[in-house]
């Protein structure tokens, strides 16, 4: 038992080592600990924001303070977040650099070690790299900006492209949606604003990389992506943080707007260190014939609560959530999907696979809503859970509302474990038990992993291998 625990710890270390390094803090701007009205004014001042944004922040703070923690349905672990012990804004200035040469050396080294500039050269159409509160680097290939594609930080978006930005900002996820969307609205900084003009199909993915470097820090990025009529875009985000002794908070809000016939794919590989509370609100609004896909993989963090949603507002709109979650010792992956059908002939699909290892706990929470007087709506939901050890835990809590007889919904969930026969079979052929287990788990998620771009799926398989090593004994 003790040797097993030791191996698990060793593996956890190795996994975290991907992002487990930090540099001394050299922040020019620091809002200090705790959250008050002054914190908001400080952030607004540093970012030189228009008055409407400052007002927006203050309203949000009121909402945040008035809302209770959602512990009537969510885990009590949320109560361990001490909002007074968090630093809400740390930056070196709000203007990102357009060239890696201008980025401070330790920030450059950070992203170099994480492989961001290399990937940018290899296959990305644009990159934003966020370091604590603000983006250190943001660039998009010239050919794309010539076509009118905007890929900037959120602060630049609201100042320089207000006419496109403001009509949709906070419309998909209103401030009062939940306690953490209100928190984000009050102290947001960083994140991306993307606008794809009509008909433009961005062939290569755009990427954002979120990095927490400082202890006791809360990252609150805000992203708004608007894909105009008939356009297509794929956006990927990655994230890491060093492993600190204290809890760190990451609470993002991501809003997607797909206009008529547009397609947005949003890909996340979440590998926060296991001290991060990751409480994220993500939702997309799909107009006529539009398609929004959330492809989501959660491997890291202490507690993740994330239920990407799609509001299908136009006829024949389509929403999809593909989700992989892996919960190891001390982790709770509380993920799911929200599908709100608001027009005729809209279709949605949710496929969720989770793996619980050691004392890990994974949860699927879903909502499907088909209101009155619609017809031809379809939903398919599948959630499969794999339990590896006897202390592993998994839960499923879907809620499906259907009104009327013109629709088809189906929900199916199953829980299983890797069969002894399967492991025996592979061991007979010379694999160690751990290798066999790893292979079985990779097989379990294989069809979903292939939904990720090549570069990510290779990385994903490696991360899963690392997590699985030493988990059998």
């Amino acid at each position: 038992m003790s040797s097993e625990t030791a191996t698990v710890q060793q593996v956890a270390l190795e996994k975290d080592n991907v992002g487990n390094f930090s540099f001394p803090e050299k922040h020019k701007f620091d809002a200090g600990y705790g959250l008050t009205k002054d914190t908001l004014d400080y952030i607004s001042k540093v970012k030189d924001e228009p008055q409407w944004v400052n007002d927006f922040r203050h309203r949000a703070l009121e909402v945040f303070e008035s809302k209770p923690m959602p512990t009537n349905w969510a885990t009590k672990d949320l109560e361990n977040i001490d909002f007074d012990k968090i630093r809400y804004y740390l930056s070196d200035g709000a203007t990102p650099k357009r060239s890696w040469d201008d980025v401070p050396p330790e920030v450059l080294e950070t992203f170099d070690r994480l492989g961001v500039p290399e990937q940018e050269r290899a296959f990305l159409a644009g990159v934003e790299a966020q370091y604590d509160s603000e983006a250190a680097y943001s660039n998009v290939k010239e050919a794309l900006s010539d076509e009118g594609v905007i890929f900037v930080t959120c602060s630049e978006g609201l100042k320089e492209h207000e006419e496109i930005f403001r009509p949709w900002f906070g419309k998909v996820i209103p401030t009062g949606d939940n306690k953490f969307s209100a928190l984000n609205s009050a102290v947001m900084s960083g994140g991306s604003f993307i606008y794809i003009p009509p008909g433009v199909k961005v062939k290569h993915p755009l990427q954002a990389y979120f990095r927490i470097n400082s202890e006791n820090f809360g990252q609150f990025e805000r992203t708004l992506i608007i894909a105009d009529e008939g356009s297509e875009v794929m956006y990927m985000e990655g994230c890491t943080a060093p492993k600190f002794e204290t809890a760190t908070l990451h609470s993002a809000v991501v809003e997607l707007v797909a206009m008529k016939g547009a397609k947005i794919q949003y890909i996340t590989v979440q590998n926060w260190s296991s001290n991060v509370f990751n409480l994220v609100t993500k939702r997309g609004l799909a107009h006529e014939d539009a398609e929004i896909r959330w492809i989501d993989c959660n491997i890291g963090s202490r507690l993740t609560m994330k239920y990407p949603g799609v509001v299908m507002k136009g006829e024949r709109a389509r929403g999809e959530v593909i989700s992989i979650a892996l919960a190891n010792d001390g982790q709770h992956q509380d993920t799911g999907a929200k599908m709100i059908h608001a027009a005729n002939n809209t279709t949605s699909n949710v496929i969720s696979k989770s793996i619980s290892v050691g004392k890990g706990r994974s949860t699927y929470r879903g909502q499907v809503h088909i209101p009155k007087h619609l017809k031809g709506c379809k939903n398919n939901t599948e959630c499969d859970a794999l339990l590896i050890n006897s202390k592993s835990r998994t839960d499923t809590y879907p809620a499906i509302t259907v009104k009327g007889n013109q629709h088809v919904t189906q929900h199916e969930a199953s829980v299983s474990q890797v069969s002894k026969e399967m492991l025996f079979y592979m061991q007979q052929r010379g694999l160690s038990e751990a290798q066999a287990m790893s292979l079985a788990v990779n097989g379990f998620v294989n069809d979903l992993v292939s939904e990720f771009p090549m570069e990510y799926s290779v990385e994903l398989k490696r991360l899963i291998d690392l997590e699985m090593e030493g988990s059998v004994g």
Binding site: L387, S390, K391, T394, A399, I400, N405, T409, V415, Q417
Partner: protein, 380 residues
Amino acid sequence: MSATLTSPALEQYEALDWPVRTEENWRFGAWKEANLSGLELVGVGASGKLPAPLKGFTRIVFENGTLVSGSHDSVELTKESFGPVSRLGSVKLAALHTAKSDHGLHIKSATDLSIEVIHFVSGDGLLLPGIVIEAQEGANIRVVKRFISVDNSATTVLAATDVRIAENAHATCLVTQELNAQSKFIRFADSTLEASSSAKLAVIHTGAKWVREETYATVDSMDARSEILSVALPTTGQEYDQRTFQHHGARNTYSELLFKNTLFGKAKTIFSGLIFVDEGAHGTDAYQTCRNLMMTDECEANSMPGLEINADDVKCSHGSTSARVSDEEIFYLMARGIPSKDARSLVAQGFSVEAIEKLEDEQLEALALEVVARKFANVE
């Protein structure tokens, strides 16, 4: 005797709060309907037309709280509640039953037994029947309970059932709820199973304007098997809210749940089910299926099938679907000369039969089908 049990119970009932909107156990539910404050117990009941007797069954008839005919050595009439426990959100309602119920039955047998209980329900007010079914070692007990309105008044029936099955025993319990469209029906149905025992608990809902049913199956002994079955046929003005909990607490246990809802008119249903597997309950086999057949464009079905698994080496699954009768099936039947309305009814009845067949008891199946057919004859 009743004074010692009832007084603290009454205090407890009065100290508790009625359900509120924010409780997870009342999500989508009509929590306001559960507020029964100010409701007095119903008075003396009236008689109704007795249905054809079931062969081999001992018939016991109640008119409201009064036993008017039938007796059996293994059946004892009780004067107070057995004290139901609500673990699914209606603590106050359970306390109300404990505090105020003044009649019930206790069936206890070590040999095979078949009992039919008819409840004729009438008058405005509250009726609080209770029943304990104890199948002792090796016994096979069948119980049918029918709730039938005999007038048009708004009666609120708050019923409680406790099924306790000893080693190697088996119990089948079929409840039919045939109240009028003004009445409310609330029921707690608990069951506990000892080693190698099995239970089939079935319910058919055709009446009442509002139903709230909390079924809690405890399967915490080796090789125990529990089946929960339900057929519900609500139409305009009817809302059925059914919550279930399949609690597995020991190795090698089995449970299966099958709910079939056919929704007519502006009916609304809520199904919330949870399979809960304790740490160490390895080898659990648990299934849960809720299927909604939507007959109109105005009905509404809410499903919340849940799982909480704390053991490995388990096989658990749940499924929930909502759909209408497929056009192909209607076409097939019409091509054989059956009018479309009859075809739809035929397909829908066939849909209910899938749950009824699981009773695996010809007499009970025939009764269930008869109740279902009567409802079909009265809708559309």
